[in-house]
Structure formats: structure tokens, C-alpha cells
Symmetry: C2
Subunit: 525 residues, 2 copies
């Protein structure tokens, strides 16, 4: 990127033209949304005086009358959704309608409002852009507590503004089963929190299409064989140690319960279940989860023990058979199977060669997975969990300054420093897949705090996922570079105010006094 430095304002006749034949409908829709949000945005520049600070510059501003969208000659023209649903190794944000969509997101964020005039100070900028990581994800738990469709769509919108590429949807769990499954409608009828807390097949189609048209692939996780107690509401015969007490002996979280993997009935159920869900999903990736299985649950379950004896198997055999079965169904649908890392590292389960492992326990596990020549997504609980972010922000705050007050600037700096850590961490890793995601677990989250726990924290990760170790100006992100840190904070502040302007309740990172004076609240200024 070469920064522009001349003021340009948007013509009231401004339009966006596509310079190739037959642009797909979702690109045309995206263009229409971009025009609409360009004109409706009320975000003013974050400087003293806000928009009025630029009033003089605007008098001489040139006027932009159109934006031209083009692709390299001979490029294949597919819809954004088709480009989005490419396999993980073929994902590309460049030279496609998806690349144009990413460009529109950048273009939108160049503009400010001043008394109804939309302008930028970046006239003449050249941006030659592309992502560092093809897989840039957000993992969303909609089972511990339920989120209405509108919350998911708003989250998808915000994800697209920061160019995330994957919604990893942890849709069901032991606490509730909100997914309507065509083959087993009773699962959500009996396992959802209520009739109004179900994602119908139409809801899922709508969410996936909405996401795909915004450059976001959906990887649905049907977590199994653990985290499945809610299946027992409709099919108690499939669940071992259901709600058994004390739960802490049989599960990581209440209620206890997991699939009776040694039972042929369970295998038949799992096959149909995965098949039914997979057939309804357009994407090329799907996850069977697999974290936190609990051995005492099966050891003390009479039915499981009887099945094992009758079939002359160990529980490890049964686990292999279960995983093999569900991975087979996923693969049969042409999708890449994902699995949680403890299945491979703790339980030594055999998986398909092209399996993507979701490394979630600690970042150190990534190396062990790579040693097995498996690809992975990086989602370590010791760094990436949104529910832990406030805690580790504050622990660090305390180590920096064992004192009383909110100390905004220190906390804000800390926040930015998290970026360095994330990235310096990734430098330690060698992965065939450059892929990462931040999860939101919903034990203590719900629609009421969705925006405030996710934004703008997720945007800090999204920036690093997209940009990688080197900033556009050549600065290395890694290390204690105060200048770069200050600039990152200014970018996050701007993004936060843009999110709020668009109806996302992102939290404040600093007092507005600091926001309007970038750098002046740094600890050494």
C-alpha cells in the first residue's frame, strides 16, 4: 500500500461499475450494499474537531464519480459464494469476485463523513492486498446459550468487514440441541431449550447463504462423541452416563453424557445424522469435534461394556470405529473432515490423511500435530479464547501496575501488545495450513453481551490473520515496537467507532480523549 495524501469527496452521483460481463447476483448485491453504507455512514474522523478538522481540505477536494471493478483478463467469473466455498487449500481472495468483495470492504473503510459529505484523505493511494492466512475464523458456540438468527447475521456482517473467511459453528452441545436435522427432527424438538430456540433448516440455509455471499465459509461442528448429552432428550438409548452425578467425574462441564460409541445403533444413528446435516451444507469442510471425551463415563456404563464384550472390542477400538464412520460420511460428501486435537494427541485415534486438526488445548500441541503430518487450525485456549481475554488482559495489567484504577492507556497498550504475542507465537509454528480462529464459548455469554465480548477483540486477531507479520509500510509487527503499537491502537479505535456506527455494540478501548489524540495516552508520552 502506498498511502494517498490528497482529499477526495464522493460525488452524490457516485456509482460502482463492473468491467466484465455477467457479474453474479451476489456481487451486484454487495455493490448495492457498499453504495448504501457509503452514503448512510455517519462516522467522522477521530481527530480533534472530528470532521470539521478537514473542512478546509474539503474545499479543494476532487470528486470521485465512480469505482471500477475489474478482474485480470481471462479470469473465471464465479459468484462470491462459489469462491467462498472452495477447499481450504484452494481458497484465494485474489482475482475473483471474492477478491473484489474484499476490495469493497477496504474501499468502504477509507471514507469519513462531515456534514453529509463523504470524503477520504487517501486520494491517490494504491493498495495491493491479499491475505496472509487463507483460513481466518471465528468459532461460535450457539448451544450453551442460544442466539437468534439476527445476532448471527450481524456477527457475519461484522466478520466480513474485517475480512474473516470462516464461521466455525459449534451449533450443538450437551446443554442444548438447537439444530433442526431433517432425518431426526425430534433432536431439536426435544433437545432445544425451547421451540423458539431452534435453528430450522431454513434458518441454517439462510445463515450459510448470507455468510457465503459475504466471503465467509461455514464449517459446522457436530461435536461428538462427547458434548452430546442433549441428543439424549430424544434418544436416551444413545447416551451413556446421562446427567450422572457428580458431573465433574464424567464430563468437563455439566451435564455429563456422551454417545454410546460401542453400540451398532449409535453408529447407524451417527451415519444418518452426519449424512443428513452434510447434505444440507454447501461448504467443503465439516467438523466432528471430538474434544473432552471422558473414559469413566463409558467404563461405568453397563450397555457400553456389554457392547464391547459382545463385539470383542476395546473402547479405543470403538472410538476409532466411531471416528472412522463419521469421517467417512463427511468425506463421502466431498468435504474435508475436521477433528479436535485431543482425539489425535490424547486418544491416538486414526484419522483420514487430509483431516484438519483443531488445536485447542495449548499452542504447544500444534507442533505435535504437525509431526504427524496433519494440517491444523490454530485455536489454543491459552491465547485465543475470547472468554479469557479480559482475564489475561487484567493479569497483565496487574503485573505492569499493581494499582487501583482502570488505567485505560495501560490496558489499551496491553490490548495491542496481545497482537504481538499472537503473532510471535505463530512464528514458532510451521503449518501446511495457515489457519487460525478465535472461539466464543457461551457458558457466560448470550445475546446480551455478544457484541461487547467479541468486538473489537476479534478484529485485532482478524488484522493479524490477514496482514501477517509485516505491515503494509514494511514494519515488522513482532517485537516491542511502540510506534507500530500506537498505530495498531489507532486502527482498532477507528474500527471500533465504525462498528458502533454500523450498529455493532463494540466496547471502547480508551476514553474518547485518548481516541482523539493517538499516542498521547501511551505510557511513555
Amino acid at each position: 500500500m502506498s498511502s494517498g495524501n490528497s482529499p477526495v469527496k464522493l460525488s452524490s452521483e457516485f456509482d460502482i461499475h463492473v468491467r466484465f460481463a455477467n457479474p453474479p447476483a451476489d456481487l451486484r448485491a454487495a455493490i448495492s450494499r457498499t453504495k448504501s453504507s457509503l452514503f448512510s455512514g455517519k462516522f467522522e474522523r477521530l481527530v480533534l474537531g472530528r470532521g470539521s478538522a478537514d473542512a478546509d481540505l474539503l474545499k479543494d477536494a476532487r470528486t470521485l464519480v465512480s469505482l471500477e471493478l475489474s478482474l485480470a483478463a481471462g479470469s473465471l467469473v464465479r459468484s462470491i459464494a462459489e469462491e467462498t466455498n472452495q477447499p481450504i487449500e484452494a481458497k484465494s481472495d485474489a482475482n475473483s469476485t471474492l477478491g473484489l468483495f474484499r476490495g469493497l470492504a477496504t474501499f468502504e473503510q477509507l471514507w469519513y463523513d462531515y456534514e453529509g459529505t463523504k470524503y477520504t484523505l487517501q486520494g491517490g493511494a494504491e493498495i495491493n492486498d491479499g491475505p496472509s492466512f487463507p483460513y481466518r475464523g471465528f468459532s461460535f458456540d450457539t448451544a450453551r446459550n442460544f442466539y437468534p438468527v439476527s445476532d448471527i447475521l450481524r456477527t457475519v456482517d461484522a466478520m466480513s468487514w474485517v475480512k474473516l473467511s470462516v464461521l466455525y459453528w459449534h451449533i450443538i452441545d450437551s446443554q442444548s440441541f438447537p439444530l433442526q436435522v431433517a432425518a431426526f427432527p425430534e433432536l431439536s424438538e426435544k433437545g432445544a431449550y425451547s421451540a423458539s430456540e431452534i435453528y430450522t433448516q431454513d434458518d441454517v440455509r439462510r445463515i450459510v447463504q448470507y455468510a457465503n455471499e459475504r466471503g465467509i465459509d461455514v464449517v459446522m461442528e457436530l461435536d461428538s462423541p462427547g458434548h452430546t448429552t442433549a441428543i439424549g432428550a430424544a434418544h436416551p438409548e444413545l447416551i451413556a452416563c446421562a446427567s450422572k452425578s457428580p458431573w465433574s467425574k464424567y464430563a468437563s462441564e455439566p451435564p455429563a453424557g456422551q454417545l454410546r460409541i460401542a453400540s451398532p445403533n449409535t453408529l447407524a444413528f451417527a451415519k444418518t445424522f452426519f449424512d443428513s446435516v452434510a447434505s444440507a451444507l454447501p461448504g467443503t469442510m465439516m467438523s466432528s469435534g471430538g474434544d473432552e471425551v471422558n473414559l469413566p463415563c463409558w467404563e461405568e456404563d453397563e450397555e457400553t461394556q456389554a457392547d464391547l464384550t459382545q463385539r470383542n472390542m476395546t473402547i479405543a477400538d470403538a472410538l476409532n470405529q466411531f471416528v472412522g464412520t463419521v469421517q467417512g460420511v463427511i468425506a463421502a460428501h466431498g468435504k474435508t473432515p475436521f477433528i479436535k486435537s485431543d482425539m489425535v494427541l490424547t486418544h491416538n485415534v486414526a484419522v483420514l490423511n487430509d483431516t484438519v486438526v483443531v488445536v485447542w488445548q495449548t499452542s504447544e500441541d500444534a507442533a505435535a500435530v504437525a509431526e504427524r503430518n496433519l494440517r491444523f487450525i490454530h485455536q489454543p485456549s491459552n491465547y485465543f479464547y475470547l472468554v479469557h481475554m479480559t482475564s489475561y488482559e487484567c493479569i497483565l495489567l496487574r503485573s505492569i501496575r499493581e494499582s487501583h484504577s482502570g488505567t485505560a492507556p495501560t490496558r489499551a497498550r496491553r490490548f495491542v501488545h496481545a497482537q504481538y504475542w499472537l503473532l510471535s507465537l505463530w512464528h514458532l509454528l510451521r503449518s501446511p495450513v495457515r489457519a487460525s480462529q478465535m472461539p466464543l464459548w457461551s457458558e457466560q455469554s448470550s445475546p446480551e453481551n455478544l457484541d461487547s465480548i467479541v468486538w473489537p477483540r476479534l478484529a485485532a486477531a482478524a488484522e493479524v490473520f490477514w496482514t501477517g507479520a509485516t505491515l503494509p509500510d514494511g514494519t515488522q509487527r513482532v517485537g516491542e515496537n511502540a510506534t507500530s503499537g500506537t498505530r495498531a491502537l489507532a486502527r482498532l479505535n477507528e474500527l471500533r467507532y465504525r462498528l458502533v456506527d454500523r450498529g455493532v455494540q463494540a466496547i471502547a478501548l480508551q476514553p474518547k480523549w485518548c481516541v482523539l489524540r493517538p499516542g498521547e495516552c501511551d505510557l511513555d508520552s
Copy 2:
């Protein structure tokens, strides 16, 4: 309280009658609001099956046709607002319109909805209630970031539902000056973040009246002589070390700057300033703040040094004179002066005998203040700061279980345990005033996360402030009593869902699975 155990439903003709002559307008308005929220509430009981679990009971429910409000014979009838604005030692929630208002809050929270029918299972209950602490406060910083009036009113409403009695309004600070002052309109004109981020005199009147009519006194804090940089936007001549760099040498937070207390001009200003604000406030309490004054700021300020020399004073003399001046103005308005604890404990400033000290640094300071025979409000940063709650929740979470996941039940237990700590802490204290408040500092808070950072955390404190050490059933709250802890969590869950039903975005404390099964998610169940 003796729990009722028979089902009662609300007649569609239900009405509330006042059994004494000339009920004041604010009581009639409160009655009208109560009737309205009783009928509009959609909150269903938090059990499996929700309202339908009670369907059978409701068939035989008796019908309540009216609620009768009466006072002991010979009671003085004053408005709720008048009762609310009593001096701290005369505050009483009993046998007054204010007591009736508290009773309405309790009454409202006995009712559930099931398919439009409002019912309670507590028919026959007798509640003989009164607060343990007369001063039950929430301190609200509207200066680091601005909150619209509607946010403050919604917060006041929620405060009244949990029977808090004081809004301690930290309205101005170094970052912005949003208070319109009759005598110095230029302060907010130049010191507010923008013209739309000002509390006009009408706004303040409206907020105070709204709060008073809901049993909430307003203590306004004009923090001084520190935390005043924003005054310099209009009156730079009054501020020493304004925005001096590095800020960390001259202030706890940027920007640096505090009143030139040695200057006669400043004293004259402060007198008129406090007088102008105090005349517009009906309450009997007012605070001059006084935390975190910085000595190097004055030591390096040429004007201050010149004033000290000319007047043959030390900075300690000047500080005494400044505090004496503003306390004199507060007292002249018949108000009790409040001051922050470091003024007394660190700077040894002389204060009026009836001063209330806001103990904010650590809870240990309370004993030192009590030794000086001064009354105090307890607001220690090591326990009560809402901005720190998430961090210390998580630090404890880690010590309990050094593990990966959100572990909702553990976190939820931790949350409830906070209650024990709070109370066991207070047991250590002997105070002539039973008074406490939780503050929200707004360096990283804003309208976007106001509800989610405050609720239901503040309600846990409000319960303890109201109930004290002994629960209505005689159980002692202090100690690791699991049964009582479980019940406290159930109460908080219910309150949280009631808050959400009324439009307050309170966070979830647990997965809904746990909420509907009280006790089943406890660590030992």
C-alpha cells in the same frame, strides 16, 4: 419472611389502592408503573417446562383482585422524592411512601407469566423487610466516556428494582466536562467531548427527579482539585501542568492537569462553581472528590510556586484552604460533604466533622478513617470495582482449576462466592455509617457495554447491602455454605432474566441448562 406456598393469580381487574389520604404524585406514578409492568412482564419461572410446569397448580389458584398500601397510623405522608432526599443518618425505607415503593419492587418480583396469566406461588407469604445498609450506592463515571440520558435513566430503573438508594455521579473528570454549569456555561461548551455530549441543567434536573421518585438519592461528585484538566479547555489559567508530558509523572491517567489551588482566582472560581452546582441539586449530600492529587504537578508549576511564595503558604496549606472552601460551600447549602479517602489519609487535610469519607483505595483504609472518627462509604478498589470483577473472577477461576474451558459452573460459583467475600470483609469493619457502593469507571466502558458490565454484578452487591449478613431464613451468608450459595445463584439467575425481560442487557451467569436446574451445575453435584 415466611414463604407462601399457595398459587395465586392476578385478576385482569387487579388494582392497587392507597389506604391513606392524599397520596403524593410520585407514589401514584409508581403504582401506575407497577401495574403496567405486572401486566406486560413476560418472565416465566426458571424451571424445566418454564410456565407450563405450573399449569396444573394454576387451575386451582385463587385470584388476587387488589393490593392495599397503608402506613402505620399517624405516619407523616411525604413524597417518595422527599423521603429519598433525607440526610444519610435519617434515611429510612420503612413506614413511608419510600417504604411502600420498596414494597412495590418486592411485590413485582413475586410474579411470573404463563400464557398471559400472571401468577405467584407465594400466596400467603409474609414479608417484613428493611435494609441493612441505608446507603446502597452505585458510582457512575460519565466523563471518561459519555452516556446518553436514556442510559442513565435505564440504569436508575434497574437500580430501583434491586433497591439501591444512591447514585454517586462522578460526572466530570480530566478527560471531559459534560456538566452544564449555570455560572460557567463555557466549561461544558469547551470541555465536553462535543455539543451533543453535555448534560444540560434540564437533563440533570430530569435525571435527579427521575431517580428521587424511584427512591434513589443523587450524590454528585465534582472531583477536585485533581481530575480537573477539562476545566482548562475554558479556563486554562486555572490549570497547572495541563497535558504535561510524560503524563505518568503528573497524573494517574492522561491528561495531566489539576487546579492551581494556591491561586485566589481558583478559590473564587471553585466557590462559585460549587455554589452554582449545589443550588441546582435537591439532595443532602455532595462530594468534592479529591483523589489522586499529584505533587510534582504543583511543584513544577511556576504560577503555583509564585502564589505560594507571595502568600507565604505551603502546598499543604493551600490544599487545606481549597478543601475548606469547597466544603464550606457544600455545608452552606445544608449538604453533607463527601471527600475521597486519600485527601484525609495521605494528605492529612482537615475536613468538617460530619464529612463522609469515600474509602476507595483499599478496604484496610476504612479502619484508619474510623479511627479519626469520620464516617465513611466503603468502595474499595481491591474488591468493589466493576471493571476489575471479570479479572478477579478469572484469576480465581484459574486458581481453582488451571484448565482450558469456560467452566461455567465453576465461574458461576466463584461469582456467588464474591458475595461471601464482600460480606466477610464488611464484618471486619465498624462504621458509624453502614454504607457502600460499587463504582463503574469508564476508561473502557461506554453505552455499548454499560448493561453487560454492570448487571447482574451490581445486583449481587445490592442484595448484600440490603439483606446484610443474615438471610430471611436465618442462614448466615458468611462462610462456605454451599446451600446458601446455590440459592444465591438461583436468585441472581432469576433477577438476570427479569432484567433482560425489562430491556436491560444483563449477562448470562450460566448456560440456560444450569439455570433451569438450580444446583445441578454446582461443582459437587
